[in-house]
Symmetry: C2
Subunit: 788 residues, 2 copies
Amino acid sequence: MSDSHSTPLSASEISLFDKWWHAANYLSVAQIYLLDNPLLREPLKLEHTKPRLLGHWGTTPGLNFIYLHLNRIIREQNPNVLFIAGPGHGAPGVVASTYLEGTYSEYFPEVSQDFQGLKKLVKQFSFPGGIPSHAAATTPGSIHEGGELGYSLSHAFGAVFDNPDLITACVVGDGEAETGPLATSWHGNKFLDPKTDGAVLPILHLNGYKIANPTILARISPEELTALLKGYGYDPILVEGHEPDLMHQKMAVAMDTAFARIKDIQHKARSENTSERPIWPMIILRSPKGWTGPKTVDGLRTEGYWRSHQVPFSDLTKPGHLELLSEWLLSYKPEELFDENGTLKKEIAALAPKGDKRMSANPHSNGGALKRDLILPDISEYAFDVKNPGEEHGESTRILGTFLRDVMKANLAGRNFRVLAPDENNSNRLNAVLDATNRAWDAITYDYDDHLAPDGHVMEILSEHTCQGWLEGYLLTGRHGFFSCYEAFIHIVDSMVNQHAKWLKTSKEVPWRRPIASLNYLLTSHVWRQDHNGFSHQDPGFIDHVVNKKADIARVYLPPDANTLLCVADHCLRSWDRINVIVAGKQPEPQWLDMDTAIAHCEQGIGIWEWASNDKDGEPDVVMACAGDVPTIETLAAVKLLRQHVPELKIRVINVVDLLTLESKQQHPHGLEDAVFDSLFTLDKPVIFAFHGYPQLIHKLIYKRKNCSNFHVHGFREEGTTTTPFDMAVRNNLDRFHQVLNVIKHVPSLAVRAAYATQAINDKLIEHKRYVAQYGQDLPEILNWTWS
Amino acid sequence: MSDSHSTPLSASEISLFDKWWHAANYLSVAQIYLLDNPLLREPLKLEHTKPRLLGHWGTTPGLNFIYLHLNRIIREQNPNVLFIAGPGHGAPGVVASTYLEGTYSEYFPEVSQDFQGLKKLVKQFSFPGGIPSHAAATTPGSIHEGGELGYSLSHAFGAVFDNPDLITACVVGDGEAETGPLATSWHGNKFLDPKTDGAVLPILHLNGYKIANPTILARISPEELTALLKGYGYDPILVEGHEPDLMHQKMAVAMDTAFARIKDIQHKARSENTSERPIWPMIILRSPKGWTGPKTVDGLRTEGYWRSHQVPFSDLTKPGHLELLSEWLLSYKPEELFDENGTLKKEIAALAPKGDKRMSANPHSNGGALKRDLILPDISEYAFDVKNPGEEHGESTRILGTFLRDVMKANLAGRNFRVLAPDENNSNRLNAVLDATNRAWDAITYDYDDHLAPDGHVMEILSEHTCQGWLEGYLLTGRHGFFSCYEAFIHIVDSMVNQHAKWLKTSKEVPWRRPIASLNYLLTSHVWRQDHNGFSHQDPGFIDHVVNKKADIARVYLPPDANTLLCVADHCLRSWDRINVIVAGKQPEPQWLDMDTAIAHCEQGIGIWEWASNDKDGEPDVVMACAGDVPTIETLAAVKLLRQHVPELKIRVINVVDLLTLESKQQHPHGLEDAVFDSLFTLDKPVIFAFHGYPQLIHKLIYKRKNCSNFHVHGFREEGTTTTPFDMAVRNNLDRFHQVLNVIKHVPSLAVRAAYATQAINDKLIEHKRYVAQYGQDLPEILNWTWS
């Protein structure tokens, strides 16, 4: 750790820097407290203040300090810098800085660079119809929703992958640093190629406190802190103190050092073809919480303490508080910062970089505007040759892997596509992708290693959080990706998905934000085929989680075979601003549709499988519906049994690929019109529905449909264990036999046969149980079952 | 880092240790591969092997090695040690060790200490009706579901809090170490009191590979690794190599050193009253993946490589593979390990500790058996004095805080209750608890710090994962807890909740597991009152997540005021084997029920609020139902408007506290009988339902009810922003006015009034919007609204 005492700044520079900092701090406090009278040109009155005081002051002066010193480097050296504020609730500071740079007014012209604009700026903060208290989609220059903590560093790495000229300066709050996702995301440096990727400059902002507690990293010894960060692979530069003049000098030295090291590392890697992982610089800023704010309030310690975390004092009707606020604001001397018109004085404004070099105007922060469509090969070339439905078996995800391999090849020169998985790429049978690229890896390698290289485009770390964060950062800066994951463990990122969905919804309401590529999930190794992992790996509930998101964002696809999987994946890779969830198994399974039929089926999203149905001459007696690969097999097996044993029974088979076609048109854009739904599912016939996930989800989707009370859904009933695939179906009543029993129960004309059939089926189920318990595999008639 | 070369073991000890290790490794391989012929007394044939080869060999020999060396220390020094296997898929090893200790046969008598028992042992592994491939509730000595990685260390810390004599030896896999939750859980040492808590001995098992990739921590320099672990606050002891004799010596030294240091730290803390945080020891075991397994398979590197991760070779019909398996198994010389009867030879068996000192029989691992009920004060003493419904305002969670304070006081001597929150205890207004205890904190403190002490019983770290993991560990070892969290961010632990729910379900099926205290959540700072945090903090979907769990585990409570919150909390703290979710706001809100009424209401879980209804003489025209504190206010406000303007309209008001009463009795034990449900909600009248969460959840719960098609649910429609509380309701149509509009729409007799009323209401909504936009707060008539 270096703590240099050199003094690169002149006294006049320091004075000017201080003015910018004062302006940013002033506007931060003003945003938090003021409803009007933004420059305090009138004596402060209660009616100038907000009725509800909200915001986070504590982290803000530090953020403003960092921002201005990054601006200095940008002006002097012209690097391309993106700014991420991990302490997201520091929006007063981030917004103030972007306003001082002029960008805010360019994006939001009504918030102009004058007194009227200042009035709007202060009023809108944390105010109805205004902006939130943390960095968000409405913040110019931000790719980071700062409401939920923990993802700043993974976003930062995601942004610089394949952006060799970009440096993301990422402020990590010491509160945020306690989260699990942040604690592991430091390791992003082992996946970063100094040749072909950009750089991340982490700035750990130690201001010591969270809402009401000290932070861990501020309360361990300096030696431990240094060891920790060196252990993460960084060389920390410490900037510590509270006296502004000294701190300006220290921060200038730190920035000079850090940017010089980055330049040096990149130069060396790019010119000398070195292969050793570099030790990247980082900065630790240890500064008081609520720096420059009131030292005490009502006699209680405030600056440098948790009482500064949010609003240092909030009840302005208390004696002395209004005066305290006024003094605090005036301590920044706004009259020296803004001119008559309320415009930032020229000499201070000149500290901002120009145009796109302003961090708030960095083009990468509006990645949709940079997005280039993927080059996609024709899916027909990867088609599984289906002559007759169900005749042959194929591994859907392995076939998808060949398509993804060629997507990777076609876009490798464009460097805008990555495949991610938490150490499951091969397990999920997408191995073919490794024929086109390597796994990203810049840690130690040995000669017997397999497909590891710093510039690989397959990203694998055993952290769903990090995969998700990297991918979000990559997408938000205008690129594309594909994330495969064990179905059960994608729940690990539930809350990250929430935040991304919120970002997408909000960004659609921000006129200058351009659509970004969709977040594409392949959930495989799914609930029905966790043969040896058992119960802990069985959970299909991520679909439930995603359908609660806004209808124009959430999409759920359940392709029943390889060709439909190819169609769906191709569609998802072309889409934007969506969260696409594809669920498909990796095991060998019957293949149903040839490519033309698959394309037609996926375009509708739902349809009658005529070749499996026998209701051509009129209304069916029963509708057998299915969604998901394993449910489709069991439904068709049930249909085959029924057609064999009760040939006069008219059965309509419906397969659902696009789950949200079931929801009503008013609720989801993919929802079928009621008339279409009714014509498919009838108005009054029983519908036996075999579903991949929790059965109640189907009831939730169809509750507005006329025939909803006749739906009988088979799905996962949380009966999991280590067992055979078919036994899993049996334990959850998803299997063919339970489906047949349900048909018998609900089709009145079958009542006479019921007693016999029920007995026969129950005998078969007992035979199944015995066989599985003895041999550990399914009955030969189940293993060898075919449709044809 | 120390790497001693002393040799504490004699040659005969080494030879004996090696035999135990061989026996454990032998049984591990046998479990993975064999269906029968467990001791290879016949030449190995294909039919002796499992049809589906499943399991994780890679980590297993290392686990077995660690286990036997822990046993040595236990025998020599008699410490009380609990074992947690982070590489959970190492169940073949954990199960083998517990079998060798005899415990397995005590818990599962059919798996006896003889040839017949061995047959069962090998067959059951990863076999239908058998046990999973990772440590689970079925594993003696385990408190850790090993299916989803990342929680071993937080479980380990949770187990030793308030157990001063317990040492948890926690093996952390180097794959698991990449997860976020694990990466931050090392910091548990800052929350551990060496006086009143036990110790955690982390053993980082670096075998270098995950499924198909190297691990990060195995591919950074030794200097970086040491720095990282020292940075986390540990003093690592390295055990590295592959030659068994040397490794036995090294591990014995490491264990001696680690246990001596623990003893020393504890002695010092407990006798000398030192206050400095100790530097705890830990062990790094760097050993080959698949140690002692086949060096190569089909010419490809296997031992010490990722190919050993699961089954090193699986197709036993391939030429030479059956022979390879046979050679591998015989290399452990089973004939020297087991006697004629198939019983482990006496001199090897003697290496196991005795009775409860065996880690597999540690009483803390079956915490339910140790559980003592909490001493709970009478909730009536904390009652909010409600004279007339809605007359006065109270802060429900602040009132709950006074109850929790006294729960804490009453159980402080028993040391079996902790309150947890991710830095939100005060924000959630549970401050009163700090009158009874401090926040646990063993990092640096300053004199101005607030309620920090090593033995505090409020646990705060900005990591929901760590809070959840600590609490799980604490509950699983027989204690009680209460976890408060911002509603939106509890999604961070969705997947951990899944695993805990699975553990609870499975443990109920394990006869010797005793019920543990419930996992109690208070979700506050909820969706409707995120006034300044805005959209990112607004998500009520955790309820949706929990209701997918097994019905006998999941409970969801939505108390509308302070007294019902007290009832519900009291009930939850008395319950066992549940996941209880309580959602209640922290803001001042009208209080509805006096304590007697609240108790009666909560006992039913749902009921008609007669005092708000006017349908006493017969069937209502409309049912106005509500669940949640804010929905209840809006429903009552709508009822008041309707009763004012349409006095002849007969309204029945129903409040739901226990959400799952809505589900049918067949689906949930709390579900109302159909007759009761029908008598409450009628068979055909419109039900206007104001719900705290996503509206579709109600439809999902009631789809089997007769009147389901007449339910019109108002709830969160994902329309969030920074705004006033009432405006949030308006944006999502939950407010009184939209409820009235919906009554008008669905009660035919109101049609004539509809045009006028609709206009008046729309005018009011416009007035509301304008007022909020201008003043940033709700209309005075909304702010000052009261029921009475």
